[in-house]
């Protein structure tokens, strides 16, 4: 292969040979046969650009194909590969080993989700709570007649909700939320952020319906503003802010 010379450092011998190695610790657990989880350790080599997901797939390919991990897009779009990486909820495909600044990379299944096996967790609760807040435009006139045009929105109106529309349902926020860990009925930051996403949409007429849904004993009021959801969201959604906006409606500060 042709030698690539570095622009920054003329003395760098070869940019392609910067490979280092790291200890990858993977949590293994099969609820059907194991009492508790245990770690399996693998030494994997990585480049500056290698993601944690690539390292796990490397282990599957060369060491142990039975490691269970869910992924699809490999580009922070599908929301499949959420897991705890060195203790923090992150997308494995969106986390480079080099950015972790550690010789050890520990991957575990997300908190607050039941484990199917190893790193793969059940999403039923997230899908259920997401569905519960009616994540679609509620508008009697949404069926277009042949001569009608789509609803127009000004850039300002789009700005009201577009940040919240970036949610990829990865569940990292729910995994980071302290209330989620003790309150098994809590609606959770993901669903609350989506409730705000539709309530704030000028085309939507379902505000009262949705506010009613989240205004119950395990609804929005069980958020105590730890803010960890917003810290871990890989898409900049900021569920904690959405929750405060929704509270504004319920307390009469917004209309």
């Amino acid at each position: 292969m042709a030698q690539v010379s570095s622009i920054e450092d003329e003395n760098a011998p070869n940019l392609l040979s910067t490979s280092k190695s790291v200890l990858l610790r993977i949590s293994r657990f099969n609820p059907e046969s194991d009492d508790s989880s245990k770690f399996m350790e693998f030494t994997v080599s990585y480049e500056k650009w290698t993601t944690v997901l690539e390292a796990i797939l490397d282990v599957k390919k060369h060491h142990d194909h039975s490691v269970a991990v869910r992924y699809s897009c490999r580009q922070a779009t599908c929301g499949s590969c959420g897991m705890l990486i060195n203790g923090k909820p992150r997308l494995a495909c969106f986390t480079k080993i080099s950015e972790l600044d550690s010789n050890v990379v520990t991957v575990e299944p997300m908190n607050n989700f039941p484990v199917i096996r190893d790193l793969a967790v059940k999403f039923e609760r997230l899908f259920e709570t997401h569905q519960k807040i009616k994540p679609y435009l509620i508008n009697e006139n949404s069926e277009l007649e042949s001569d009608e045009r789509e609803f127009l929105q000004s850039p300002k109106e789009v700005e009201q909700y577009i940040q919240f529309a970036n949610c990829i349902k990865c569940g990292l926020c729910n995994s980071a939320c302290p209330t989620m860990s003790t309150d098994s009925s809590f609606v959770g930051p993901q669903a609350l952020a989506q409730a705000y996403r539709y309530v704030a949409d000028s085309r939507d007429k379902g505000k009262d319906t949705r506010l009613d849904i989240i205004d119950e004993s395990h609804g929005i009021w069980r958020c105590h503003f730890a803010g960890s959801c917003s810290q871990v969201c890989p898409k900049g959604v900021d569920p904690a802010m959405g929750i405060q906006f929704l509270r504004g409606y319920l307390l009469g500060f917004r209309s």
Partner: protein
């Protein structure tokens, strides 16, 4: 009751308590702190009707706030239909019992029955 109504009461009682508890503490400073808690002074406090009304208000506000806060903690600790019903009724009973017992003390002392 709607959860938002309950939480409005929760925040309202919190804010009102801050004001009244501040007055309550400032009253301790009118004389020396220890002095203000001497037997005669405490009894004298209870004879003052405006002060007694304030004590009764603090009692109600904090009983409502505290027991609702306890309800919140208990709801987040464990879930289940029967348990949650027990918690809801339990805290209302606790609230009423505390206000009742506190009011009895306040009224009896005010009327010179101790």
């Amino acid at each position: 009751m709607k959860e938002s109504t309950i939480m409005k009461i929760h925040y309202g009682t919190a804010l009102a308590s801050v004001g009244l508890v501040a007055v309550h503490i400032l009253m301790r400073l009118t004389t020396g702190f220890a002095d203000s808690l001497s037997y005669e002074n405490v009894l004298a406090n209870y004879r003052s009707v405006p002060y007694v009304i304030m004590l009764e208000l603090i009692l109600i506000l904090l009983a409502v706030h505290g027991f609702n806060g306890l309800r919140v903690i208990l709801l987040e600790l464990k879930q289940g239909r029967v348990y949650e019903k027990a918690v809801s009724y339990g805290v209302v009973i606790g609230m009423i019992a505390l206000i009742g017992y506190g009011s009895r003390t306040i009224i009896m002392t005010n009327m010179g029955m101790v």
